[in-house]
Symmetry: C2
Subunit: 414 residues, 2 copies
């Protein structure tokens, strides 16, 4: 059979229901703008690394600062973390055992589990990335095996990170999946009133700025037994006395709360971690959480880097780096007031509205030595395009001043 | 609302359709046997590494060989690969940039892309793991954005690895998803006759032994334009003059074929790779393949380990290791004829049928110094439990002889 004899009924039989995703619709818009960014030289930039403020394009010699790195504390190039990876490799003498961790695992990984458990005050499950943890765990929240009691209505905040929204269809095979307007507690409470078991899926700190409505959510948890699933990747390490992140440093853990976070952002290493609300979930997830259970988990250098970073999180250096970051955020907020000014998080959006304008601003900044990504639908809502600025603790004050001057002059001339 | 007032209609509204998965049904069986293995001391074994044949339980001093590692060539502890990871860390001075690779990426990663492209004779997309590549790519095969022409009926081989079956619900939101009896070409051809665009999803070498029906599949591809998606993780490095794996070393790439593989098994490093059939898919997937596009890709030590391993794949040492592995497989096959004897792959199942017997055999072998995993439903069919033996090139001949003797004596006494 070929396309020319395709009739509508065959086509509709082939096409999925598009309940949670529609690649064609996403790409129709997204690809156009990606390609526009590519034409402007803002994609596929290939660099050597001297520091986060000195990336070098080998062919042209062009040097620039990275202002869209998630390494908010600059720990990605901390000598202790690099040496942690090296010494783990030397000590273990292997990249990894290439077997499911639930069967046999290195004491080095066990050390990391214990170090993270101590750091976060909760059973801590490591994973090869934060999104892999989410892919493994969320469907078991939907089925009720984490949280208990049977299938649970899964309510995804409309702004929650792609890594969680991506898993909606898998959750949807286990239970009812709904979307919730961003931070809309009334909407969420109505769902809690209607259904006996509900889970809410959200970012702790959102990748486009802003926070989850934590206080109200805890009230709903108390009142209705609402399960809370947070990805707090963008606040991990940069908030909390031990870098526990926004959510963990403001709540007590309980069996109806689970927090995942990336260890490749503020934490400066690789992989991800799930802070669990229940001791028995730790072994259960190691056995049953899909991709978490297959044979590839964190490799030895990643474990070593994480161990070194966790140690560093217990020293006064963490607080010093957090303070430097906060200072940079404050300076930026004074120069460019945005709706998130003063919230203490490092992600800022300089909104320009039009997608082409956003790409042009990003292009001009890059020429001036600063790479900030242009963001647009579907990363932000249509018509809300802009340039995303991600501040770092290791961004030198004089360089920050210069950056702000450059942005200002470009905005005036636009 | 609480459970006591739950009526059937609310419960059925909450519960998902269970089209592709049912955690409750899987766990009801699987957990019982996992826990049986745990009671026998076969789970959560925590070790120090001296070599793949000398893992040491610190508390007891018990030493054993790992016979369920996927490091088939023993490359996980090859000094050149360890040093590759170390020197990449030293050279780059960072664990990673913590930004989406499509925007800015290290020349080191570009070098790896080019090295793998050369090795496999195809555009090669790196990923943080093989299953992450599958999670990102398969839904775009379903939607027709890889392979072209519009939505495609996705036919999953019933034995294909969990990492692919796991993505069924996501694919199912884009297109019709079907299952196919293992290696059943007639069944598959009927589907090709019924629908205009079909993709078949399979392992190249199966994780329980055996191969895909490659020749017949290529005929179906020629005749019907069948898209072929293979995970060849269990043959990568161990077959082909440059370790291209079973599938790649037996086919020419074309836009209707895509092969993914783990770089953490035979390859001895970390991460995964997708060999693409079309040049334009490379950038397209970097932009749009879900988890591949987010900010965590391969970290610097993983890139370094992979670069070193890729170099090693170009030396005569690869052939020597492949030959050693083949010799070990032949020796085992002579002692324990199984239905896969002579197929050259390193995975063998000593079938005992009963789950408890399988666990007991695994337990006795472990005491004798050999860890082979007991496998049972849902990893294999019900009633087909056994002990999985995974042979390695670095398993010394005298040790292999001893292992075979031990198995034999235990089988006789059982």
């Amino acid at each position: 059979m070929n396309d020319s004899v395709l009739n509508d009924s065959v086509l509709s039989e082939i096409t999925g229901p598009h309940r949670y995703r529609n690649a064609e619709a996403m790409l129709a818009h997204g690809e156009r703008v990606w390609l526009r960014a590519a034409e402007s030289g803002l994609l596929n930039i290939q660099v050597d690394h001297e520091s986060n403020d000195r990336l070098i394009v080998r062919e042209t010699g062009h040097e620039f600062s990275l202002l869209c790195s998630c390494s908010y504390l600059g720990l990605n190039h901390h000598p202790k973390i690099i040496e942690g990876a090296v010494s783990a490799l030397r000590k273990a003498g292997t990249t990894g055992l290439s077997i499911a961790e639930i069967r046999v695992r290195l004491n080095l990984l066990v050390e990391l589990e214990e170090s993270l458990r101590d750091l976060y005050g909760a059973p801590a499950l490591p994973g090869v990335s934060c999104s892999v943890l989410t892919a493994g765990i969320l469907p078991l929240v939907a089925s009720g095996h984490i949280g208990g009691g049977g299938p649970r209505v899964m309510v995804f905040d409309r702004f929650c990170h792609f890594s969680m929204a991506y898993i909606k269809p898998i959750c949807g095979d286990e239970s009812l999946v709904l979307s919730c307007p961003h931070n809309d507690l009334n909407y969420l409470e109505d769902i809690c009133k209607k259904y006996p078991r509900v889970a809410y899926v959200a970012d702790g700190a959102y990748s486009m700025g802003g926070r989850t409505a934590l206080e109200g959510l805890l009230e709903l948890q108390n009142r209705y037994g609402l399960f809370l699933y947070f990805d707090d990747s963008h606040a991990l390490s940069i908030e909390g006395p031990r870098g526990e992140g926004y959510v963990r440093s403001n709540i007590e853990m309980n069996p109806l709360t689970l927090i995942v976070g990336s260890l490749a952002k503020g934490f400066g290493a690789s992989g991800g971690v799930a802070m669990l609300g229940s001791e028995k979930d730790f072994q259960f997830l190691y056995r049953n959480a899909g991709p978490v259970t297959w044979s590839q988990n964190m490799d030895v250098p990643a474990i070593g880097a994480c161990l070194a970073s966790a140690d560093l999180h217990r020293t006064p250096e963490l607080g010093q780096l957090q303070a430097k970051l906060r200072h940079n955020i404050d300076v930026f907020d004074q120069r460019f007031p945005t709706r998130f000014s003063g919230n203490g998080l490092p992600i800022r959006l300089i909104e320009v509205g039009d997608e082409d304008l956003a790409v042009r601003l990003s292009e001009q900044l890059f020429r001036a030595g600063y790479y900030c990504s242009a963001v647009f639908f579907p990363i932000v809502a249509r018509g809300a395009a802009g340039v995303r600025v991600m501040l770092r603790a290791d961004f030198a004050p004089e360089r920050l001043d210069n950056f702000c001057d450059v942005v200002e002059s470009l905005m005036v001339s636009a």
